[in-house]
């Protein structure tokens, strides 16, 4: 490189200043406010930033009265002004003449843009959605440490399926730093790891309040999560980018709690039905064996000498006794006699059970005893005491 005559720092700075200030005499910039400060002099100092960059800004006191809102950290704003270089520090900044908050229209536009972009990348694809465990044991929850959301969710878990352990990672869910905190929370729960799924929850609010859930970095953190993520943001009508990228969207936080755990009552019912089915199966088994033995007894008695008959008869008695002992002692069947078993069997007739209001659900003719036997859109037949009805499964 050829030797150049060295410039003084001031001369270089002056050339940079002229170049930059001429290059950007008038601009409009959109970004998020941070480090916002009103100096005692009345001037406003702040940083404008987006995903990957930031720039300093200043608004002189004379222009402040024209502001139509109170700027705060975390707000999305559009500023107009020009670029200026502050020679003393060798820094550049935007000399802001006007500032307005990003309106609902602007936010909607940003929302649609990001939605289209991520959809084109396949981030919302159905194949990416991971199934949630049917019986989760440990659930991570990301939400605000204040507010009713956590409390309301706890109530649902308690009522519906208390056999879960909840791990709560408090996070800011609106305003400055919320998106960063949500991203960090997802990373923390994934690093902690001993969980079946994560619920990302927030109560209702304005479009601005819910905005962190429309941020690209939050969407990408959800997509990158190794654990399945359920989004539960705002009210039923609110859709955020987080909802689209999550493995499951719940309309509200409490709905999320209902969606991720089974209903205790339904499981207890399944357990009761299982007990009934098993007892019935064993009872009919005993009856069958008894008939078989009687049949043998009859046929042998015609062809065998008496002692042989007695031996068989004795053997039959022993078998009966063994079975009786097994049934009464080990299996809590009250039947003291095999005939009693039969009576009990008839009392357990499924028709009588149906009359008590229970129903039998069949899929393709086979009885479905557990929810896991069903898939969405399955055609099923429900048997009532007075007949059958056909139905389709909306959701499981």
């Amino acid at each position: 490189m050829a030797d150049q005559a060295p410039l003084t720092v001031s001369a270089l700075t002056l050339r940079i200043k002229q170049s930059l200030e001429k290059g950007f005499p008038s601009l409009a910039v959109v970004g998020e406010l941070s480090n916002f400060k009103q100096h005692t002099s009345g001037h406003l100092y702040f940083t404008l930033k987006d995903e990957s960059s930031q720039i300093s800004g200043v608004m002189w006191r004379s222009r402040v009265p024209a502001l139509k809102f109170r700027p705060q950290d975390g707000m999305k704003v559009i500023v107009t002004g020009r670029l200026s270089v502050y020679e003393v520090r060798g820094t550049y900044q935007i000399d802001v003449s006007t500032m307005r908050p990003l309106g609902a229209g602007d936010l909607q536009l940003a929302f649609e843009e990001l939605k289209n972009k991520l959809a084109a990348e396949g981030l919302f694809a159905e194949e990416r959605k991971r199934p949630l465990p049917e019986y989760p044991e440990r659930i991570g929850i990301i939400t605000s440490p204040t507010g009713a959301v956590l409390h309301d969710m706890l109530h649902v878990f308690k009522e519906r399926f208390p056999a879960v352990a909840l791990v709560f990672r408090p996070a800011r869910v609106q305003g400055a730093g919320a998106a960063e905190d949500i991203v960090a929370s997802l990373a923390d729960l994934n690093a902690y790891g001993k969980l079946d799924l994560i619920i990302l929850a927030r109560g209702g609010g304005s479009l601005e309040d819910l905005w962190p859930f429309n941020e690209e970095r939050v969407a990408r953190a959800i997509a990158a999560s190794k654990l399945p993520v359920v989004s539960a943001v705002g009210h039923e009508v609110d859709y955020t980018i987080a909802d689209f990228v999550a493995d499951l969207r719940a309309p509200t936080p409490t709905a999320a709690a209902s969606l991720v755990v089974p209903d205790k009552k339904a499981i207890l019912e399944i357990l009761r039905n299982s007990g009934y089915t098993m007892r019935q199966a064993i009872a009919s088994r005993i009856t069958m064996n008894r008939k078989h033995i009687l049949h043998l007894l009859k046929s042998y008695s015609f062809h065998r000498p008496m002692d042989l008959l007695r031996r068989h008869s004795q053997h039959v008695d022993e078998l009966s006794r063994t079975m009786m002992t097994a049934m009464t002692h080990r299996h809590e069947l009250a039947a003291a006699h095999l005939k009693g078993v039969e009576e009990r069997l008839s009392a357990l007739n499924p028709v009588l059970v149906l009359k008590r209001g229970y129903t039998i659900v069949r899929k393709e003719g086979a009885i479905v005893g557990l929810r896991s036997g069903l898939r969405k859109a399955d055609a099923v037949e429900i048997e009532f005491a007075d007949g059958r009805a056909r139905s389709t499964i909306l959701d499981v």
């Binding site: 199934p131 949630l132 465990p133 049917e134 019986y135 044991e137 991570g140 409390h151 706890l154 878990f157 308690k158 399926f161 208390p162 056999a163 879960v164 352990a165 909840l166 791990v167 709560f168 990672r169 408090p170 923390d188 729960l189 690093a191 902690y192 001993k194 205790k264 499981i267 207890l268 399944i270 357990l271 299982s274 007990g275 089915t277 098993m278 007892r279 199966a281 064993i282 009919s284 088994r285 064996n289 097994a326 080990r330 299996h331 809590e332 005893g369 557990l370 896991s372």
Partner: protein, 81 residues
């Protein structure tokens, strides 16, 4: 979703329920020998008792995830209500 053991090393709730379902199906089909079916019945009744007990006696727990000074995760008990 792989079935998993819980932290105590016991069968998970899901596993117990699946096993019970399997036993009920086997007993219903009726093609296992009588001795085996009695054994299955006993196992099935025990499983349904264990599952029911876990549901009715379970108490919801809430822990807050934090980090200590070395950046290691900590869990602290949170009051329910």
């Amino acid at each position: 979703m792989a079935t998993k053991k819980n932290t105590a090393g016991n069968a998970s709730f899901e596993e117990s329920l699946r096993r019970l379902e399997e036993i009920v199906n086997q007993l219903e089909q009726g093609d296992v020998p009588l001795e085996d079916s009695l054994r299955l019945y006993e196992e099935g009744i025990e499983l349904s008792k264990v599952c029911a007990r876990r549901l009715s006696q379970a108490e919801l727990t809430l822990n807050k995830l934090g980090k200590d000074l070395e950046g290691k995760f900590t869990l602290t008990d949170e009051e329910l209500e």
